[in-house]
């Protein structure tokens, strides 16, 4: 069981009277660079601290032009962490490949990170969020094909002796020959986050990559999606591999269940009501009809539409409570989903520095040891019991 600390680096200072989208059109006059200076350094401290208290990995991610997350180039943040950490894996999940042209830049930057960190990189690659197609101008009707081709190009760049010519539909490069090459061989682990589309799972299974379900859904959505993934993975002729599955969700630990709710609730609502507002935009062509229908079915099970604390708890939208409560709930989910990687968001919304640090400390001291003991051997996939 590898346990990661995931950060979104959100903007916690949207005005109380701002009710608009946090994406695409949120006026950037609301961004205050002076506060941003403090915030970036605080958030990086929180990731570094996670390594100090025993997390196995630190996770950064890519978002553009949004108060939801302020890492437009996650590789910059991975680089900032690379020299300030020495043990933890650095997971970038991921680079939004269709937004990079040529995508060989991703192959190069990931190779640099892998070499500098001595092979601590996890290379995530994503299609990019729906709002990012409005922000970038990239055609969403080409998103899936661009992603597939760019992914192929990046992996080839890492594994095929260069120089070679790449002649794709979207990318035509006379000499692919990245310098450096990655340290991990044949290439760094590739993680692909997904919203539940079967096409993404099939791609991950076909290539032996790893899958992480995107968060903030009711646990029943995870159960359905992860069951689909396990079946697709096994159908591809592969052995059960919990280490190729990750679970990502918000976690908050305090002395008691009551204290956890009292400290956390307002910050979760800031996230759900302010920062998630606008994320649901799906540009035309971004999804297949089947995926859109699947997502529509799940729309009522997304945190954006949740209005009461009881639903947050019963749906496991966030795992909040005493160390015992949190350990028990997480162990249950990990077992049911068959995952070998746990990615926790320990800072969410407007959760302030002191509570974030207390959360990380308490989790590391009182929850992490229990999970490590419980999953000394990885969870067994239910399909293999049949």
């Amino acid at each position: 069981m590898d346990i990661f600390s995931f950060h979104l680096m959100p903007w916690p200072y949207l005005p109380a009277d701002y009710g608009g989208s946090a994406w695409i059109t949120v006026p950037n006059g609301l961004y205050d660079p002076g506060r941003g200076h403090d915030l970036y350094n605080r958030y990086l401290d929180e990731l570094e601290y996670a390594e100090q208290v025993g997390f196995d990995g630190l996770v950064v991610n890519e978002h553009h032009q949004t108060a939801y997350g302020s890492m437009p180039s996650p590789n910059l943040f991975a680089a900032l962490l690379a020299r300030r950490t020495s043990r933890a894996k650095i997971a970038v999940i991921g680079n939004a490949l269709p937004l990079y042209n040529p995508p060989t830049r991703v192959a190069e930057e990931f190779a640099v990170l892998d070499v500098v960190t001595g092979g601590r990189l996890i290379a995530g690659m994503v299609v990019g969020g729906g709002p990012e197609y409005y922000s970038s101008g990239v055609n969403p009707a080409q998103a899936r094909r661009r992603f597939a081709e760019a992914l192929d190009l990046v992996v080839q760049a890492w594994t095929r002796p260069g120089p070679f010519e790449f002649d794709g539909e979207f990318y035509k490069i006379p000499h692919v020959n990245p310098w450096p090459r990655p340290l991990q061989q044949p290439h760094p682990p590739v993680w692909i986050p997904g919203l539940g589309s079967l096409e993404t799972m099939e791609l991950v299974a076909a290539r032996g990559f790893s899958y992480v379900g995107l968060p903030f859904f009711h646990s029943s959505v995870f159960e359905r999606n992860y069951a689909a993934f396990r079946q697709i993975w096994l159908a591809a002729g592969r052995d059960p591999a919990p280490e190729n599955l990750g679970l990502l969700l918000p976690i908050y630990v305090a002395e008691s269940d009551a204290a956890a709710r009292a400290e956390y609730e307002e910050h979760l609502w800031y996230f759900a009501r302010k920062l998630l507002n606008g994320v649901q935009i799906v540009p035309p062509g971004y999804q297949s009809v089947q995926s859109a229908v699947r997502l529509m079915e799940n729309a009522s099970k997304y945190l954006l539409g949740v209005s009461d604390w009881e639903t947050v708890v019963s749906g496991s939208y966030a795992i909040v409570g005493s160390p015992d409560t949190v350990a028990e709930k997480l162990a249950d989910l990990i077992r049911r989903l068959g995952v070998g990687n746990l990615l926790g968001l320990f800072q969410l919304g407007s959760l302030p520095a002191h509570l974030t640090r207390a959360n990380l400390t308490l989790f590391a001291e009182q929850v992490m040891p229990k999970l490590r003991a419980e999953f000394a051997t990885p969870p067994v996939w239910p399909e293999t019991l049949v």
């Binding site: 409005y134 101008g137 080409q142 094909r145 539909e169 540009p283 035309p284 062509g285 009809v289």
Partner: protein, 296 residues
């Protein structure tokens, strides 16, 4: 040659506008073909209207043979996923005209289809007898942006689109009709959302960025020699009036018509009036027909 229109001569109504299918270079295309007379190709808007539309009946009664394909990716036509730019789209359209064996046609385009009709007139002028552009997209006019249709909610979009917004489902009902059963209206509540989902995807494939225009088109419009009429509705909230004016200014001899109490889709909202304005194009086309010995 594709099957000719069956049934009686259409007479103002459209029930004989049966939806049929052909293949064009391996792409399945659904279409209607009705009436007898001067060939008229109708290219639809971003909303993919096709089928037994009143405007087709009115045009058939005015002496046109209407050929209305559902463009790739719309409705039940296959998508062309390899399109990367407007030239790719125009080439596909030329192949569709080839497949219908339409040598020279009156080209009528609504909105997106107006843009595409203008492109065909620029690139393949010999295929165009006359041109009717209904609220044509395709140009960028400084200070007069096209309304952002992608991601627009219905309550923002429909009042800009139609003078009578509640008519929207009725205008698209013929496109939702099953093949060979154009008179039946489907009961599936997902039929219209799925139709629009595909229509927006196909429109994005053509015009996501640059947004619903071709930056090179305006400077090329001066090459068009076909008689041209540019029609817009006076209540069009999608396309500012400056766009129709820009087309009319750029195409030599183009006429401008404004239809009262009409939004962005005149062919759907005022079919009889549109047919009346298009009727003179048939005379142009007949003169042209004599000159070129086109055989029906």
């Amino acid at each position: 040659m594709t099957a000719p229109t069956t049934g009686p001569q259409p007479n103002g109504a459209g029930p004989s506008a049966t939806l049929r299918r052909i293949e064009v270079d391996g792409i399945g295309i659904r279409y209607v073909r009705l009436g007898q007379g001067v060939p008229l190709v109708y290219l639809h808007s971003p909303f993919g209207e096709v089928g037994a539309l009143p405007v087709f009946g009115a045009l058939a009664a005015a002496g046109f043979e209407i050929i209305a394909p559902e463009l790739p990716g719309f409705g039940q036509s296959d998508p062309v996923t390899t399109w990367q730019n407007i030239a790719d789209v125009v080439f596909t359209l030329r192949r569709i005209l080839d497949r219908f064996e339409v040598d020279r046609a009156v080209l009528v385009g609504s909105s997106l289809g107006g843009w595409l009709a203008a492109e065909i007139a620029v690139w393949f002028p010999q295929r165009v007898r006359a041109l009717a552009l209904l609220a044509p997209l395709g140009l960028r006019v400084e200070g007069a942006p096209i309304f952002q249709i992608f991601g627009a909610e219905d309550d923002a979009l429909l009042p800009r689109l139609l003078a009578r917004p509640t008519d929207f489902p009725a205008h698209l009902a013929p496109a939702l009709a099953a093949d060979d059963d154009a008179a039946e209206s489907p009961a599936d509540p997902l039929a219209l959302p799925l139709h629009l989902f595909r229509a927006m995807e196909a429109t994005a494939r053509i015009g996501w960025n640059p947004y619903l225009h071709d930056p090179r088109l305006r400077e090329r419009l001066g090459q068009i020699e076909a008689p041209t009429v540019v029609i817009r509705g006076d209540r069009d909230g999608i396309l500012p009036a400056a766009h129709a004016a820009a087309y009319a200014a750029a195409i030599p001899g183009a006429r401008r018509v404004e239809i009262a109490d009409c939004g962005h889709l005149p062919a759907l909202e005022h079919p009889e009036e549109v047919a009346r304005h298009l009727s003179p194009l048939r005379r142009h086309a007949e003169e042209d027909h004599t000159a070129s010995c086109y055989c029906m």
